[in-house]
Symmetry: C2
Subunit: 232 residues, 2 copies
């Protein structure tokens, strides 16, 4: 390395700081995660979470959103910081601290997610070997999402604007790894009154047409005010 280039000097050693992003998407049945293939050593050609170094003038959330935009073309997606990874030797080159976020995006709106050579969606139960400690980061992101969904209706970030109750149920089942009775789930959602029925219908399989619903944020905010919690 060229010594001329090492112009940032400190009295004590400083770690590098990166933001990595676990980007979740939902295909109607399963949860997916967007991975990129590394082009350089170490772990060259290995799949990894998108991420990069934090710039000195941006906070971590801004950095995560920047990474997300670069990878998916999406602006202002829902992101949430869930853990910071600090094991001293997690990167073989140097000490790296990684502030990890997860992002909830609509797969349909992601550009280049499946045609770009270096980025691909993987179902959560079929993820390849990952670089560094990214498998741990991914598992922890799943756990954090599972816990968050007990307090906030984040699932809607993963669905298109209009969706069927069946799709919503599939999503909750995928995140929580449980099964609900179709009719009880339907009734419960109707009872909450946080879904707004649109005039549109859709025919997902070739059977009876299903109504499309929209998430009613105002109604939810109102209920939340009164101490309501979305439980599962």
């Amino acid at each position: 390395m060229d010594n001329e280039e090492l112009k940032y000097c400190y009295k004590y050693p400083h770690p590098s700081v990166t933001t990595d992003c676990v980007i979740f998407g939902f295909d109607g049945t399963r949860l997916n995660v967007l991975l990129v293939q590394r082009g350089v050593e170490p772990f060259k050609c290995c799949w990894a979470l998108p991420g990069g170094f934090l710039r000195m003038d941006e906070d971590a959330a801004t950095g995560a959103l920047r990474e997300l935009r670069e990878e998916t073309g999406l602006e202002g997606a829902y992101i949430r910081q869930f853990h910071t990874f600090t094991a001293p030797r997690r990167d073989p080159r140097e000490r790296v601290i990684t502030i990890a976020y997860y992002a909830l995006v609509r797969m349909q709106e992601v550009r280049g997610g499946d045609d770009a050579a270096d980025a691909r969606w993987f179902p959560l139960d079929d993820v390849p070997q990952l670089a560094f400690d990214h498998d741990q980061i991914l598992r922890r992101a799943e756990k954090a999402l599972r816990e968050q969904i007990h307090f906030e209706p984040v699932g809607f970030e993963l669905l298109p604007e209009k969706f069927t109750v069946k799709q919503l149920q599939n999503l909750y089942e995928a995140i929580l790894s449980v099964r609900f009775d179709r009719r009880n789930f339907y009734n419960k959602m109707m009872h909450f009154e946080i879904l707004e029925r649109t005039a549109d219908r859709v025919n997902p399989s070739n059977k009876k047409e299903a109504f499309l619903f929209r998430f009613n944020e105002e109604k939810y905010a109102e209920l939340k005010q009164k101490g309501f919690r979305l439980e599962f």
Copy 2:
């Protein structure tokens, strides 16, 4: 500053990384937090959360435990990472990233917590002005603790080994800012069977003697296995 001392050089600027610790204690009625008075500028004499720079050979949890030990003398207390603070100008001197933990300790066991000149317990609703963005860190720690207590029986870390049901109720009420019916809380706890009654009794006020209980971890682990969750 002496240039000779600046021997750690990098191609790109690196932030400093610290771990700060929100140390919670419970006095039987209210939640308290342990603060230290700063001896140096900036914010000299201001109260602040204990913390310090992360060493290059330790991970963040180890660093937080080290800070905790230095401040309270406690070994192996319960700690949990809850957020990393990254605003570019949160420290006026240089860019500092702070990985924040909260710790749950028994106030009785803390050495130097109230006689040391530079460290003191403050009730959560009577905290003085804090240095840097430590008020935000504190508020966020409270929120994280509130949410965690829905999933794990962390409250017991704050109580002495033996405690009355009344004390346990006070703790839950303090953390969640709610009121429970005394008798329902008692029945519910007895029904869970995660409290083990000891032979000892105590006379907190000068009225009837109350049984002392102990948290039964085995029983809890067993119930948790079966999908049980401690709800409030």
